[in-house]
């Protein structure tokens, strides 16, 4: 059904001088789904997210989010989306609570609701006990969780997650995946970039495989495995992209 398409990308292109980072990509994301954007480092995942969230301008093409063009209505779009960048970029010196309240202030959450909403999120993300601790004292996993909480402070309809579990230990990554699943169950549309294929297999309804700025295929993880006759998404990914397993192993280790 076309009416429930919340992200529509058409011929989106990003060039940095001579380098073509994103090469005329087109795709659609439906309301309420988890859409995985997969690819090795340098595939163009972050460049795409930056264009969709207004952090950089496209060289060619356009994208619409919730029916609004990122070229002309980015301020309106920003009010309705939450973004978790690939680094946990909250303020080190400020407490978890102040960081969330500051974000609520920037997003125009009504004054009376800011603290309540921040407390609610701190409880959901199991950080309430540390609400007065400075962000710099948090572990990597806790920092990631608080960065996601900050992106949810204004109750967005779409959440962009750029490499949410990168650099986390197994336990922290699992806990974060559970949180993402819960958000999905609440009906939030999630746009997820990752190069952890087992994570994508677990979480995503649809995935797009991106290599050197081009989308090679878009399908469900199950269909990709069936079509390539592979047991895991990682094997299917290898087959589709033609990337050597060692190369991918190096990418994952970064």
């Amino acid at each position: 059904m076309r009416s429930n398409i919340v992200i529509k990308v058409e011929n989106l292109t990003k060039r940095y001088g001579e380098i073509l980072a994103v090469d005329h990509i087109s795709f659609e994301v439906k309301e309420g789904e988890v859409f995985g954007f997969l690819g090795p480092n340098g595939a163009g995942k972050t460049s795409t997210i930056r264009m969709l969230t207004g952090l950089s301008k496209s060289t060619e093409g356009d994208a619409s989010i919730l029916g609004m063009s990122v070229k002309t209505k980015i301020a309106e779009i920003k009010k309705r989306i939450g973004v978790v960048p690939d680094i946990s970029n909250l303020y080190d010196e400020l407490s978890a609570m102040y960081n969330l309240i500051f974000m609520a202030q920037l997003y125009g959450v009504p004054r009376g609701e800011r603290r309540k909403r921040a407390e609610e999120l701190l409880k959901i993300f199991r950080l309430y006990e540390r609400k007065d601790s400075p962000f710099r004292t948090f572990s990597r996993g806790m920092k990631r969780a608080l960065t996601i909480a900050a992106a949810l402070i204004h109750s967005p309809k779409i959440l962009f997650l750029d490499e949410p579990t990168v650099g986390l230990d197994v336990v922290a990554a699992k806990s974060l995946r559970n949180l993402i699943s819960n958000l999905h169950q609440q009906g939030i549309t999630i746009f997820l970039t990752t190069h952890y294929l087992e994570e994508a297999d677990l979480l995503c309804d649809h995935v797009a495989i991106l290599v050197k700025g081009k989308i090679l295929v878009i399908d469900t993880p199950l269909n990709l495995k069936t079509k390539t006759d592979k047991k895991t998404l990682e094997e299917a990914f290898m087959e589709i992209t033609g990337l050597e397993p060692e190369v991918l192993a190096i990418e994952k280790g970064r």
Binding site: V83, P85, Y91, F102, L106, G108
Partner: protein, 242 residues
């Protein structure tokens, strides 16, 4: 949109106060440094200390506004928090104005302490309207200068080093210590392209028994300097996100 931007400017300034300004390094640069500097000159050439008060206030304006302003934007670019601000429904000019406002508010607090302190201790009776007409635009001019130099360079420490050049040039050539009228004529021309010259002279005129109306012209000139610094700063910051 303008409401979102105004709200953003206010809360960014407030957050910067908490995060960067009312801390020992900024206070040291903003208030201790100008007082020490002026005292050093006074001890070298003892005379009427009242003569040095406009220079002291001007230096406080200059150093307090630029104390952290010159590094915060680059620092936030490096750690990614500036990007975090730009993910909110706020424009790049609003983010930069929030940073400039933060520097100006801190400068206002430091300058108020120095101005009130020196007028009480030395029994001075300035024209407060003229003081405000000079101090307020100056706060924004030098905060914007800090922002401009900050976005010109890539590294945090480069900005601080780069800013020291106009800062020290202005201390020596803008009449803070030595009157512009007594300088060689070539240097006098140069002095009048420096914004601090108008701050110092305007403050001097605010302390005269019959204040000079040229202060109004100085206010206008300072506002022009503000535009000359703020627009290129916005342009350069925007370029970093193209």
């Amino acid at each position: 949109m303008w409401r979102d931007n105004l709200r953003g400017i206010f809360y960014i300034a407030l957050k910067d106060m908490k995060t960067y300004y009312f801390k020992a390094p900024a206070i040291s640069w903003g208030i201790v440094f100008p007082i020490t500097w002026i005292l050093a000159f006074y001890l070298r050439n003892p005379g009427d200390f009242k003569e040095l008060v406009p220079g002291l206030i001007a230096m406080t304006v200059l150093f307090s506004t630029t104390a952290a302003e010159a590094v915060v934007i680059n620092f936030e670019l490096r750690v990614g928090t500036l990007e975090r601000l730009l993910l909110a429904p706020i424009s790049i000019p609003a983010v930069l104005l929030g940073k400039v406002l933060g520097g100006a508010i801190f400068g206002f607090a430091m300058t108020t302490i120095v101005t009130i302190g020196s007028t009480i201790v030395l029994g001075l009776r300035p024209n407060f309207l003229y003081l405000i007409l000079i101090i307020l635009p100056s706060l924004f001019v030098f905060s914007s200068l800090g922002a401009l130099l900050c976005v010109t360079v890539k590294e945090v420490f480069d900005a601080q080093t780069l800013l020291n050049l106009p800062r020290f040039l202005m201390i020596f050539l803008s009449g803070v210590i030595y009157p512009v009228s007594k300088m060689p004529s070539a240097l006098q021309y140069f002095a009048y392209i420096l914004p601090l010259t108008y701050t110092v002279d305007g403050l001097r005129k605010s302390f005269l028994i019959s204040p000079d109306r040229i202060v109004f012209l100085y206010t206008l000139i300072l506002i022009i300097f503000l535009f000359l610094f703020i627009f290129p700063a916005i342009k350069l910051l925007s370029k970093k996100f193209e």
